[in-house]
């Protein structure tokens, strides 16, 4: 490993040949000032701040781009180094406005810190300073480009990490400006990281602007719950309100990046529709009341309406914490019902857990081939997509089988367009091709299948890959044939020796599966509960318009006179007021302790960052008290850690897709797939106003091919289920791909 010895500031250090000096100094805790160097980005060496003295070299050398060699003697703090660093600092400050008192970066600014150390208190420069007019780059990032020192970290971030080159340095010499080509706003789903990498106040958070000074805030380590990754974050709060979320380093999970959804969703916490007081509906009128009354009303209502325990159903969104899932299923089971589910948006449900992933986040980086099935990965799971992108930079190839050609931030090879109803046939064809090529006997249900050319090519790539993965995405959820498809994916993976990355479920779904928040064979699943037989419901963080696959029948059921609905919810909206009979205000993200289980199966716990507003209470406490009021046994918890310990002892039931019956499936109908933009996936994000104003947040189009549009009798800019139609040729036939921020209507 360490093959050379060098000396930094008199300290003998072992290092690898070719390591940069700054890298070694960082490891040894020797401070070298820098602006353009960033450990996750390429070396630009354009700020010159990290100049150090290397003995024997006449001029000071940039530590970031000078590789260490055996016997090198480096001084980072002698007169020569200091003189060089101070000179650079003086140049950098010539055009910097020094408006720190009104700059949001003040207090956490690398330029400010380094200027304290290396800057002069008097400037020799009397000429006018450069001013750069701001063009604006969207709703998330505030630009003050006069403050820019041209380190190009944001430019390199776009090119190297986000994969969308948006920022660039135009002009030359003193006239250089860092700006995007378009002023319509940044397109990337990871754009907020530019704020983190910017060493000065040129790029700051727009929603956070002038909200608080950085040193006034209270930072708490937390975990983002919006996707399967569980990115590590700090929440920063001021006077009891979360004011900002920034990334926390964790190399095996999110490296140093977080998605815009994780970063800006906190805004939703302070939305005006927060549920702040317990409420009950008496004779159709809502009344605010206290907790005692509301709980009594809720318990009595459930007991009176559910004549037998099987008439009680419990539903949750996929974003609750492990502890909440555990307690709520325990409450339901002790109550005597198996009608438990979190898979509200799935079209076809079984009693089995979802297909198990067989790869970890960091392993994805080293794959050599990926086949993506039914997924707009970039928007669904930004950080997982980022890992796939890193693999492609190392030479991995990617093929897709999707219903529309999506905009990935890496090159895809073969793109097979398949509508959801034809997906089974396509996968069968690929599976058959693999069997043909590997000279294995194909199972009998494939006897009639003869693979097309492109399916043979897909199969070739799968077989040839040594370290391939098949990625199964969110689109599966609304596929009426999902069980057969999952089975085929599993068979393809085993026939071609592939790893599986199942990203169909998001949020904290893996916690829900771990504690069995789903019915066994006696119970009803979310898809079958809305019939005559369920008379009382307990909902946790459920949005009646957005969350259900068939929201109309769900709402119709809840709205019935003789159906009693208790809602634990952080927010109120009209549909909830219509459907519910009791609203128990629940703490939201960052307001309660809990645990998230991520793609790697890692359980990450977090504590509450702020107190929940109004009278709202943490979900796990509400459930515990309800269980006590039901006089159920086994709910003597003092804190959520005890709940967590019990929950973690459970293990998800096995997923089994081995003996799926491939009976006939009707694939003749035109189908519609409804995909949400990433910024309406959960109740908090949906209310985060800045995210909604981004290019991604405003996506609202029903994509359809020309032939299908003709069949449906729709044209460009017509409304299809309330969504503007866009006729394109990159979408499968007999199929409408609705990509929207509107609530599901199909």
């Amino acid at each position: 490993m360490s093959d050379i010895e060098i000396e930094i500031d008199g300290q003998l250090v072992r290092a690898n040949q070719g390591d940069s000096i700054i890298n070694i100094a960082d490891r040894e805790g020797i401070e070298v000032p820098r602006f353009c160097y960033h450990k996750k980005l390429s070396v630009a060496a354009n700020c010159r701040m990290c100049l150090v003295d290397v003995e024997g070299v006449p001029k000071a050398q940039p530590a970031c781009s000078t590789p260490a060699a055996n016997g090198m003697k480096i001084h980072t703090k002698n007169d020569k180094a200091k003189f060089a660093q101070k000179a650079v600092m003086e140049f950098l400050l010539i055009n910097h406005p020094l408006d720190c008192p009104i700059c949001d970066q003040g207090g956490e600014c690398e330029l400010q810190d380094v200027a304290m150390e290396y800057g002069s208190d008097v400037s020799k420069f009397n000429e006018g300073k450069r001013i750069v007019p701001d063009k604006g780059i969207g709703a998330l990032i505030q630009t003050d480009m006069t403050r820019c020192i041209h380190c190009t970290r944001c430019v390199r971030f776009g090119a190297e990490v986000a994969g969308i080159v948006e920022m660039g340095g135009t002009g030359r010499g003193e006239g250089v400006k860092i700006e995007p080509f378009l002023t319509e706003g940044i397109q990337s789903e990871l754009s907020g990281n530019m704020i983190d990498v910017c060493p000065v106040g040129a790029l700051t958070s727009k929603p956070f602007r002038y909200e608080a000074r950085t040193w006034q805030m209270n930072a708490v380590q937390s975990v983002a719950r919006h996707d399967l990754v569980g990115s590590n974050i700090y929440t920063q709060s001021y006077r009891g309100k979360v004011k900002r979320v920034v990334a926390r380093d964790n190399d095996s999970i999110n490296e140093t990046w977080i998605s815009d959804r994780d970063r800006f969703s906190y805004e939703g916490l302070n939305h005006e529709s927060r549920a702040l007081k317990p409420k009950v509906k008496i004779d159709g009128l809502w009344q605010e009341t206290d907790w005692q009354e509301a709980l009594k009303f809720a318990i009595d209502g459930i007991k009176n309406n559910a004549n037998s325990s099987e008439q009680f159903g419990v539903l949750s969104s996929k974003y609750a914490s492990l502890e909440e899932f555990y307690l709520l299923q325990k409450l339901a089971r002790n109550f005597g019902t198996e009608n438990i589910d979190f898979r509200l948006d799935q079209a076809q449900l079984s009693n089995a857990s979802s297909l198990e992933s067989t790869i970890t986040l960091s392993e994805i980086e080293s794959i050599d081939h990926a086949l993506i099935v039914g997924s707009y990965t970039r928007l669904e799971q930004p950080m997982i997509n980022h890992r796939i992108r890193k693999a492609t930079l190392n030479g991995a190839s990617v093929n897709t089988i999707n219903s529309k050609k999506f905009d990935f931030n890496y090159k895809t090879g073969l793109d097979v367009l398949t509508s959801p109803q034809k997906l089974r046939a396509t996968l069968q064809s690929v599976l058959k091709a693999i069997h043909n090529k590997t000279n294995k006997d194909a199972p009998s249900f494939l006897s009639q299948v003869s693979p097309e050319d492109i399916h043979n090519k897909i199969a070739d790539d799968l077989i040839e890959s040594k370290n391939g993965v098949i990625v199964l995405g969110e689109h599966l959820n609304s596929n009426l044939d999902s069980i057969a498809i999952t089975s085929l994916i599993e068979q393809i993976a085993s026939a071609a020796d592939l790893k599986i990355a199942n990203i169909t479920l998001s949020g904290n779904s893996l916690s829900a599966e771990k504690v069995g928040f789903m019915p066994d064979e006696k119970g009803m699943s979310a898809a079958s509960m809305f019939n005559e037989s369920t008379k009382a419901f307990l909902l946790m963080d459920v949005d009646l318009e957005y969350d259900f696959f068939d929201s109309k029948s769900a709402q119709d059921c809840f709205n019935q006179e003789d159906v009693f609905v208790v809602a634990l919810s952080s927010f109120e909206n009209q549909s909830l007021l219509n459907g519910a009979d009791v609203i128990l205000p629940m703490a939201s993200y960052y307001e309660t302790s809990g645990t998230h289980i991520n793609f790697d199966g890692q359980a990450q716990s977090f504590s509450a960052s702020v107190k929940s507003p109004g009278d709202s209470k943490p979900g796990w406490k509400i459930i515990k008290v309800m269980a006590d009021l039901f006089e159920l046994e086994g709910f003597d918890y003092i804190d959520s850690t005890q709940v967590k310990e019990q929950a973690l002892q459970l293990s998800r039931n096995k997923s089994s897709f081995k003996d799926v019956d491939f009976e006939n499936f009707d694939d003749s109908q035109i189908t519609t797939h409804w995909q949400y933009t990433p910024y309406v996936t959960d109740s908090v994000t949906r209310r985060a106003s800045a995210l909604q104003k981004t290019n991604i947040g405003m996506i609202d189009s029903a994509f359809v091919s020309e032939a299908t549009a003709k069949k449906l009798g729709i044209g460009n800019d017509d409304l299809y289920l309330g969504v503007p139609v866009s006729i394109v040729d990159s979408v499968a036939e007999d199929y409408v791909f609705v990509h929207t921020n509107q609530a599901r209507k199909a």
Binding site: I164, E166, G168, G169, G171, R172, E179, F181
Partner: protein
């Protein structure tokens, strides 16, 4: 839009670079497109070049704003590219530029009313021995004086 002729010319330059390095031809492409557009570029054309060479638009913009030989505002039929670097400056280029501005009634970077001439200050053109100098089209004009300039302007049509 890039015309088919222009595309053919660009393809010639693209063919000089290895496959996958099409973006190396960006400077020639911009020159060709600029010439076709009467001597200047606009963001639409920059976007077109980016699409044609499969580059991010901002990368093309970076090149187009870095080099002096691309104009981002409409120019006159003839562009007087006046050197204002050290040798020319010491030999009185500033004076000649002011003289030109007064005579034409326009500032550097603007187009004369008849659309015939615009003046642009550029960096060293490598003809220091003949300073002060300017470039018009492909022609260098050296050892300039006010009289010589008058003469040159009279002959521009």
């Amino acid at each position: 839009m890039i015309s088919n002729e222009a595309k053919k010319e660009i393809d010639f330059w693209v063919s000089k670079y290895p496959e996958g390095r099409e973006s190396s031809a960006v400077m020639q492409a911009l020159t060709i497109v600029q010439k076709e557009n009467g001597g200047s570029l606009n963001s639409e054309l920059i976007n077109d070049v980016a699409e044609y060479l499969e580059m991010p638009a901002i990368s093309v913009q970076e090149v187009a704003t870095f080099y002096e030989n691309y104009n981002h505002k409409p120019v006159g039929k003839h562009v007087l590219r006046f050197c204002h670097n050290i040798s020319c400056m010491l030999n009185g280029s500033d004076e000649l530029i002011s003289y030109l501005e007064d005579k034409l009634g326009v500032k550097t970077g603007e187009v004369s009313k008849d659309g015939l001439v615009s003046v642009k200050k550029v960096e060293c053109l490598g003809a220091c021995v003949g300073g002060p100098m300017c470039q018009i089209g492909d022609q260098y004009h050296e050892h300039l004086t006010k009289d010589k300039l008058d003469n040159i302007l009279e002959n521009l049509t």
